[in-house]
Subunit: 376 residues, 2 copies
């Protein structure tokens, strides 16, 4: 490891982070703490000399042995990825909220990452999504980009794909955070989708090119989805869904966790509903993009009240309302009879009827007073 | 009104309440306050002498004119209803929580009302329910009676009917609280259902026999549904649903409001979801009877954790889990290669592989180590 000098400089730090990203697993807190206090170059040197004191030093050394810097550089160049480390303009500062699980470096394909996630919501959910979930996630993403938000997700089948596609179809920006290298064709069926995301948004990973996904990498990746976005929306999640780990990460970061409910008869919404029950203080129901923006956006961006059909009988005084309710539909009746049915004095009923006639709600003919036909 | 004596007695009180129930609309707070301080008999007397000082005295007098005590008594007898007033053993004391909107009297057909609502949940929702809502409400009611709870609802089409039927099918007790007299065939299609409810449970109303429902009577009736039960479950509700007024009444009473979510694409769940957002502090998602009992029952009756499929890889140490994840599916590899992929020292990998072999998760043959086939 001759390229890492003892004195340490900006480039040494970048290079050392690259090497450490290759030898350590994402979210290695002991390593991250050491890097934050001693610097990446010094930590790497200490590992090489078997004196880092880190619990997984043996593991790092096993992988250091197999490292091929030339091949690694070639992989980076081939896939057109750039390396972004803390201190770079493109580094999203919200990742620092992760503390000692912040990534050592990011491998980025596409647009400027920091700008793409400035006003972003994560939309995550089940791989085995139902058609309900796919439609809802796609509409939600399209609605978010319509409102100037970008959509962060994990590039997986199901809800993730629907979210990316909804954003793309809406002409917006979407960010795919992968649990493998940004050059790895995973999932295989999403090669074209991820290519399009890289062109119109960003594909990003903390794993160097060539790395394959593992179960634990999916879980550690989820904290990045939560940390990059202002809040996480769970669309469909079964009881044991990875999306719940993204929600947990958002909660730990103090970011809003929003849940789109679904049929209680659907196992694919069971995890989402459990989230609402188990973390009721910190979890909010949302049913559309307006409400997501209301929850995540700055104050003042309230969702519009849903339209309700105004009724001409809205806002009547109790006695007028009682008279209206007492009006027969067909055969007219006398004021006295009406007053008795309504339980109001006859004089009050007479005044109320006059008011109702002016509102077009009551009619009078030879038989007496009755309800006017409503135009519907 | 010669039967109401100035001195007043228990029977005078009962009779006076009956007359007042005929001349006043439900929820008349000014009248209820007067009855609570001066006694029903005295208030009725004062009304008859035009000196009650009550704001709607004119209305009461209009209806007093048309009263026919013999016909009223005949109607009561004909429909087999009994009158229950405060102080009676059958009076449900939780109604007193309504304060000055407590009913003056109740007209009851069927079993003992107080006992039937001791451990009860209200299940309410849209009349124009979807098949989803009908299935969910029916299952919920059946699940509640299975757990020894009774089900209170409003006897309407849709969710109400599904709740009553679910309870009846489950062999349990259900209570229909009507917005009309207990002898009035409303809704017409529910005559047989309400007859069965009266046989196996209770049909109750604060409106005397013969009274017809009005819009405002539906709304005031809803407070009784909320007050009689330990909490209110809303299954489906559109934006402008009467079920939301039952929820509001429960909230005012400090009783839990529980909401069964549904598809966000369904207008029939929009009101339910808005309830969850607008009153998030006081509203809880429930997906089944277990959770309703957990929310309404005494402490200790927690819903069982939903079954999750246990995986043999649960609870492995991080290094063993990393080794497991690094195992190839088909062609076996050496311990050294595996250690590098997993990022653990070779000796650790070797120990981990031995443990995984014992768990039936790893296999070794001439080619090396690979994943054992999972029985699925």
């Amino acid at each position: 490891m001759g390229s890492v000098s003892e004195t340490g400089g900006v480039d040494d730090d970048r290079l050392a982070r690259l090497v450490l990203a290759r030898v350590a697993e994402p979210g290695d807190a002991a390593l991250a703490r050491a890097v934050q206090t001693r610097g990446a170059a010094h930590v790497l040197m200490a590992i090489g000399e078997h004196r880092s004191g880190l619990p997984n030093e043996g593991g790092y050394l096993t992988r250091l042995d197999g490292l091929d810097p030339h091949r690694d550089q070639q992989q980076l160049t081939d896939c057109g990825a750039r390396v972004v480390v803390p201190g770079d303009l493109e580094w999203p500062s919200q990742l620092d909220d992760l503390g000692d699980t912040a990534p050592l470096a990011l491998f980025v394909r596409g647009s400027d990452l920091r700008r793409c996630v400035l006003r972003s919501a994560a939309v995550v959910g089940a791989r085995a999504a139902t058609s309900y979930g796919v439609v809802v996630a796609g509409d939600l993403a399209a609605g978010l980009v319509d409102r100037g938000w970008s959509v962060v997700s994990g590039g997986a089948y199901g809800i993730d794909a629907a979210a990316h596609r909804g954003a793309l179809v809406g002409g917006g920006v979407t960010v795919a955070v992968l649990a493998c290298g940004v050059d790895v064709a995973y999932p295989r069926g999403h090669v074209a989708l991820l290519e399009r995301v890289a062109v119109e948004g960003v594909v990003v990973s903390e794993l160097p090119p060539g790395c394959h996904p593992t179960k634990s990498r999916f879980l550690t990746r989820n904290r990045l989805i939560a940390a990059l976005s202002r809040g996480t929306v769970v669309v469909e999640a079964a009881y044991r869904s990875g999306a719940l780990s993204t929600a947990a990460a958002a909660r730990r970061l103090g970011r809003p966790v929003l849940v789109v409910p679904g049929p209680v008869t659907s196992p694919l919404s069971a995890g989402a509903h459990r989230l609402l029950r188990a973390h009721r203080e910190e979890t909010v129901v949302v049913t559309g993009a307006d409400e997501v923006v209301e929850e995540l956006g700055p104050l003042g961006s309230w969702a519009p009240e849903p339209p309700v059909t105004a009724s001409p009988s809205d806002g009547l005084s109790p006695q007028v309302a009682a008279t209206l309710e007492a009006l027969p539909v067909r055969r007219g009746v006398s004021v006295e009879r009406l007053a008795r049915t309504a339980g109001v004095p006859p004089a009050t009923a007479a005044r109320a009827l006059e008011q109702l006639r002016l509102l077009g709600l009551a009619l009078v003919d030879d038989a007496g007073w009755r309800l006017a036909e409503r135009p519907e």
